[in-house]
Assembly symmetry: C2
Homo-oligomer: 434 residues x 2
């Protein structure tokens, strides 16, 4: 192993809550975040909700010596909010914008306007090829009645597909971000089981942070207390996940979170807690001796079976979303046709003996036209959503069939496939929480 | 080499021109296409512009015995139009929708409504892992004044990034589709040089088809003759590209195109010509002896230098697109503010001594509101486009810097990098046409 290769990689992740003129004390908090990053000098810092490019540029200037390599992912109207700061050279970047991300008419929620996405940067860490992903999924506004569950499920699927298909040449994989999902939520299980990514919180040797690793806590000055009901202590929705390769296996040596208030500062860094992971890189020339798939062959049939179960659960959610969206499209169709029918009214009146003025007719016409156009735009929107949901279901079905084939292969031969394909990487068993 | 592994792979690609109720003789032509595919039994058929799912389902039924594995990529309002029919098992599918794809208000062009994308299917060909891509890029409506050039450039970039980052584990790579670019157009050079994909037309041992491989020809009954000006003979915009791996190297043994009229049929299959490639798969246990990168090390510095030049050219186009889109956003801003100012007029009139009716005020208000809303929506649209163009430029800059680092490495050591990264695959020299 070359001497200069690092033994550990320090990774930081924080949802910065950076909505200018809305998030409290935004400028002051970016000052604090900049100070923290400059002082701590993590190898890689993954930030979410850096909605304003000005704030990114402020951090970029402030961290120009500690983190000379940066990428700010631009997408949607406001941007993706995703930013990466790295001590090591960023070779390449790629962005995948999620196909489903809320509704444009939910102006007060704003998710649709931020082009939520997963960003990938390929970082050269002394000759090791690290694929580092940063993402932020759609918010959960109500856990009891979560109308965005299918959207988040599609996002989870697209995230796992993106990671699975772009991480094949990586020596190590790190994913950080705000998944807006609890640890055992379906989307989270789907992501972990199909990518083989392991959750640093459940894997770490030592942990220093909020109880149960919570990243949204009542003790945080900025957190909205109603978001935590019925989880009084807090919830864990921010993650650092990791995966090694045949060349390098990874181990989380320590994980820490901030705990709300910051010493010597009047307020926390954000409404979310920050995560810092120290990841040990165990180099190995021969994966069959020390690699991540070491001694795991006996588990593969079980793992494939688990993957199948979780995909089946996810498909049910997507199908439910499809029904809901088809109902919404039907409503849009009614609106459109109501507008069209009502439009006949002023047209008919124009040909009747004139009992109302040109202006009245015009106003009526304008109202009908606006109904018609609104209906048409909503129809287009929901049609697009239906296409995305169907595509996701089709992809899930393909994966499900493929897993079935592998499972049959496993049962026949005791190993899932003979082609050594990277799909087998996800078969590493992962710890279950709680 | 196992006996059952195929020696050749037969790939078909056709833009089906399947706009129901608009494309001439659509149903009859799908009958003909179905017959052709059923008879020819290509390993993989890649279709574009299958806009209607009904037509896909018709083909699926018709080809259920010859091509039992299919995937129809769903995206946008009308769909992506992309379909794959395969004799071999499709293990997985992934879709990347292009971020920039025309304007929604160009209703008569319709590109925006078809969610143009690149689709990937992973096909198991007797244990070989084939990554098969199908795509369709934005149309070129005017070569002299091509306002969509930046859109197609972004699409080319996203296509190459997607192929580069998802093809790493493949034994062989095939890309087919309608690129809407001539062979030496910048986007095409960018794609080939950065992915290492080789054009079957320039690589083939034998060719049987239209002069210069044209796929849009005057002799085709359906082709619009004004699209061909000033290229009287025709243009080549449909392609089959290929790339081997360390395990398998690929060679195009023969390529053919249809030539407009079809024997014993009253009309052609489509307004485009179809392509059929026979690709020889040369299995190799040791790439260093027979692989695709065989003996090419001496060319890498030159290839890196060429890649840098072509990225620089592409960045210039993206920057030009950025200026144009910023100007469009400025116009949208004026429209929005005009609507807002005019809205003050009926509001002021409402408080003045009443010289006009409620209806007149309402009509005026409605006109102003529609101006304001149109302006706001266009502003959002162009802001999104600006974000995409900036992101593309940033990614291109990263790649450019990375190539510069590699070039320095090449010149110092005579080889571009020591980590054996898959980025080096694109360094294989490619033939230049004409």
């Amino acid at each position: 192993m070359p001497a200069e290769r690092p033994e550990t990689l320090r990774v930081f992740s924080l949802n910065c809550w950076g909505i200018r003129f809305f998030s409290q004390l935004c400028t002051q908090r970016y000052e604090m975040i900049g100070e923290l990053l400059g002082r701590e000098q993590h190898d890689i810092a993954l930030l979410q909700e850096v909605w304003s490019e000005k704030d990114f540029l402020f951090l970029k200037r402030k961290l120009s010596s500690s983190h000379p390599y940066t990428h700010y992912f631009k997408s949607g109207v406001f941007g993706s909010g995703l930013a990466v700061f790295s001590k090591h050279r960023i070779q390449d970047a790629l962005l995948y914008k999620y196909s489903l991300n809320g509704y444009p008419y939910m102006l007060h929620q704003g998710d649709w306007f931020g082009g939520k996405a997963v960003g990938l940067v390929i970082v050269d860490i002394f000759g090791l090829k690290a694929h580092v992903y940063v993402t932020h999924l759609h918010a959960e506004y109500s856990r009891a009645q979560d109308e965005y569950l299918p959207h988040r499920m599609v996002q989870s699927w697209e995230l796992l597909q993106f990671v699975r298909h772009t991480s094949c040449g990586a020596d190590l994989v790190v994913l950080g971000g705000d998944l807006n999902m609890h640890p055992q939520d379906l989307g989270n299980r789907l992501l972990r089981s199909h990518t083989g990514l392991r959750d640093c919180y459940t894997e770490t040797d030592t942990f220093d942070g909020c109880e149960d690793g919570h990243t949204l806590i009542a003790a945080n000055h900025f957190s909205k207390k109603q978001d935590l009901i019925p989880f009084e202590k807090g919830i864990r929705i921010d993650y650092i996940l990791m995966k090694g390769s045949q060349k390098v296996s990874m181990k989380c040596e320590s994980l820490s979170t901030t705990k709300g208030p910051v010493a010597n500062k009047p307020y926390p860094y954000s409404d979310h807690e920050a995560l810092t992971a120290e990841l040990a890189l165990l180099h190995s020339e021969d994966s069959r001796q020390h690699g991540s798939s070491n001694g795991e062959d006996s588990h593969t049939a079980l793992a494939v079976s688990e993957q199948m179960d979780v995909v089946a659960e996810a498909r049910a959610v997507v199908k439910e979303g499809l029904c809901q969206t088809e109902a919404l499209r039907d409503k849009a169709t009614y609106l459109m046709f109501s507008g069209l029918l009502l439009l006949l009214l002023p047209l008919a009146m124009a040909f009747l003996p004139c009992f109302c003025s040109f202006s009245t007719l015009g106003l009526l016409g304008a109202v009908c036209m606006s109904l018609l156009l609104s209906g048409a735009m909503l129809y287009l929107l929901f049609t697009t959503h239906i296409k995305v949901l169907k595509e996701t279901d089709d992809q899930m079905m393909l994966t499900s069939n493929d897993l079935q084939t592998k499972l049959t292969g496993c049962r026949l031969s005791g190993s899932p496939s003979s082609d050594g394909s990277p799909e087998l990487q996800p078969l590493s068993p992962f710890k279950r929480e709680e």
